[in-house]
């Protein structure tokens, strides 16, 4: 029997012998996906917006100016063709596209059903609703000024389309968040506890005196948790796609690969923690405080990153979950591929390499 296999088997037995923890780990994501039905809406600023102006007349340009000078929006692209829409959403990270039809000024002054189309990125439904409400308010205010309150009711109609999540289902927002939290929980917290347990029980000493190499011990320790994480991810995805009809528009293979990447990031965090602490209790507390809280609060899962104070925004950059959530949303809701998500992926790869390096170093230091 290969030592590595013996080790993985033993670790799997540990997991199976603790059914309470297993039930919590499997039950929690199910409960979370089902329970998370509402979200907290907040104010926005500097939302990236693209303007698709086929009119190019004084009225459309003035409205554009109003939007971009309001402080809520930031012009990031002006497109010419309808076909560019997809590219603008994917590459420019635009949250809202404002479309003026040809001859807008004429219709506006003749009150001949002037229309502006607002297309929002509804991957995050709460943000999308807020963005559209703000844009509509600015447009209305402009109309009021031009025509005076006598012109009521408003003539400009804004036609709204919620892109990527037409029905604004908040479960679409929470599924990527729940996947992130569970993978972090299983990979980082459970492995840091499992590794610290060996230290606390004194079995680590015996393992280190055995011919097992430290790397085999660590890898053997984490393999069952990787499997557990992937099983749980499968449950969440199954639930999301069947019960909530959530789409997976991008490649499933890429999604699994990115999940494995995030699992590696989390595992290296867990190993790093376990190499620095002596008891399971401390490992648990550090995992909760240093990993779970930022993952929940600073990742954009509940509170949009754009709305955070600048200091928290900067801190959010070092939270792996922040990047991973963008990736999961991108793949599942927008059908984005690596050509769009390479930046986030590279950041996670970089983080993982640094963390693995640090945890190996820390593990070796402890051996001395």
């Amino acid at each position: 029997m290969s030592p590595f296999f013996a080790f993985v088997k033993k670790e799997t037995l540990h997991i199976l012998r603790d059914p309470r923890t297993l039930v919590i780990l499997l039950g929690m994501p199910i409960a979370q996906v089902i329970l998370f039905g509402f979200a907290i809406t907040n104010e926005l600023n500097d939302v990236r917006v693209a303007i698709f102006d086929s009119a190019k007349d004084p009225v459309s340009m003035e409205i554009s100016d109003r939007l971009t000078s309001s402080g809520f929006f930031q012009l990031s692209a002006e497109t010419g063709k309808e076909e560019d829409l997809e590219g603008v959403f994917q590459h420019e990270r635009v949250k809202l596209v404002v479309v003026f039809p040809p001859g807008f000024q004429e219709r506006f002054y003749r009150n001949d059903n002037p229309q502006i189309q607002l297309i929002a990125d509804a991957t995050d439904p709460n943000t999308a609703t807020t963005i559209v409400a703000y844009a509509s308010a600015i447009i209305r205010q402009y109309e009021e000024e031009k025509k005076g309150s006598a012109a009521l009711p408003y003539a400009i109609k804004t036609e709204v389309r919620m892109r990527y999540n037409e029905e604004l289902k908040s479960v679409f927002l929470f599924v990527p968040g729940v996947i992130t939290i569970i993978l972090m929980l299983v990979s980082a917290m459970m492995t840091s506890i499992a590794l610290t347990r060996e230290k606390e029980l004194g079995t680590m000493e015996v393992l280190l005196v055995s011919p097992l190499r430290p790397l085999v011990i660590v890898v053997g320790k984490v393999v069952p948790y990787i499997a557990l994480g992937l099983i749980i991810m499968g449950i969440i995805l199954g639930l999301a796609t069947t019960v909530f009809q959530m789409p997976i528009r991008g490649s499933l293979g890429l999604l699994v690969a990115e999940c494995l990447l995030f699992v590696s990031t989390s595992l290296s965090l867990g190993i790093l923690i376990s190499s620095r602490v002596k008891t399971q209790m401390v490992a648990l507390l550090i995992s909760l405080m240093a990993l779970m809280l930022p993952t929940i609060l600073l990742s954009g899962f509940i509170f949009p990153v754009e709305n955070m104070p600048w200091l928290l925004q900067i801190i959010s950059h070092i939270v792996p979950a922040r990047w991973f959530i963008v990736i999961v949303k991108g793949i599942m809701l927008k059908g984005a591929g690596l050509e769009v998500l390479w930046e986030e992926t590279l950041i996670l790869v970089f983080m993982t390499i640094v963390l693995i390096g640090a945890s190996i170093r820390s593990f070796k230091l402890r051996l001395e």
């Binding site: 029997m1 296999f5 080790f7 033993k10 097992l212």
Partner: protein, 246 residues
């Protein structure tokens, strides 16, 4: 005489602090060697070097014929180790523990099976083979841990305070196991805080402040230092250094 362990001026320094200060000793194959010392005297550090966990700062040591600095991996394959925490997995059954340790020492499936049967028979644990270790009495766990530490038939077994927290009768039984292992030609290197146990050893050394203050058979040491017991001798040696420090 075949030597199982030899050290020459084995030294370990942590920065300016010398934990183990040039110790030299020889342990013969099949000998029961008691490695004594107060807490903090450097026993654990010395043992970590001998088991290949920690590299010496200077000096040499060879264990089972392998050099501790250059061949720690071979040493690990040829020694057994048991600590005072018994090193068993409480949530696994008796059988699963045996199979796991057999597995990590690279025993073949067939050998693991044979070894498992043999141990269950020897320790009279067959009836509880499928019981989680946590529900076994302390004495049984200790015996099991001792046998498991030798599941791969090592030449030398290191026991780090193996009888900590165990009642005198169980300790007595445990020493019978140690004798049985030594009779089979296995070298036993044991640390303990119980001075009555020291008397059971073929030879002992007493470490004080990183150095070996006395070494020899219990009876020879008592005669040499005119001490009525090893306990008396131990306290006397430890007191000298405390006075020296003051």
């Amino acid at each position: 005489m075949n030597l199982a362990i030899t050290t020459e001026s084995l030294t370990k320094k942590f920065g300016a602090f010398t934990a183990v200060d040039a110790i030299s000793l020889e342990v013969a194959q099949g000998e029961i060697f008691g490695f004594l010392g107060a807490n903090g005297a450097g026993k654990t550090t010395a043992m970590r070097m001998l088991t290949g966990l920690s590299r010496p700062t200077s000096g040499r040591a060879s264990v089972a014929g392998f050099d501790v600095s250059r061949q720690p991996e071979q040493i690990k394959r040829n020694i057994g180790y048991m600590s005072q925490k018994f090193s068993l997995y409480e949530d696994l059954t008796v059988k699963e523990n045996i199979r796991f340790y057999g597995g990590i020492y690279g025993l073949s499936l067939k050998n693991i099976g044979i070894k498992t049967e043999q141990l269950l028979e020897e320790l009279d644990l067959r009836e509880v083979s499928k019981t989680p270790v946590k529900s076994l009495p302390l004495g049984w766990k200790q015996k099991l841990a001792f046998s498991i530490s030798q599941v791969h038939d090592p030449a030398i077994v290191f026991l780090d305070e193996p009888t900590g927290g165990v009642d005198p009768i169980t300790r007595r039984h445990f020493w019978e196991l140690i004798y049985r292992a030594a009779d089979k030609g296995r070298t036993v290197f044991v640390t303990t805080h119980y001075m009555d146990e020291a008397e059971y050893c073929d030879r002992i050394s007493i470490m004080v402040d990183g150095k070996i203050a006395a070494m020899g058979s219990p009876s020879a040491l008592k005669k040499e230092h005119q001490a009525p017991s090893i306990n008396e001798l131990f306290v006397r040696l430890a007191r000298v250094t405390t006075a020296g420090l003051g």
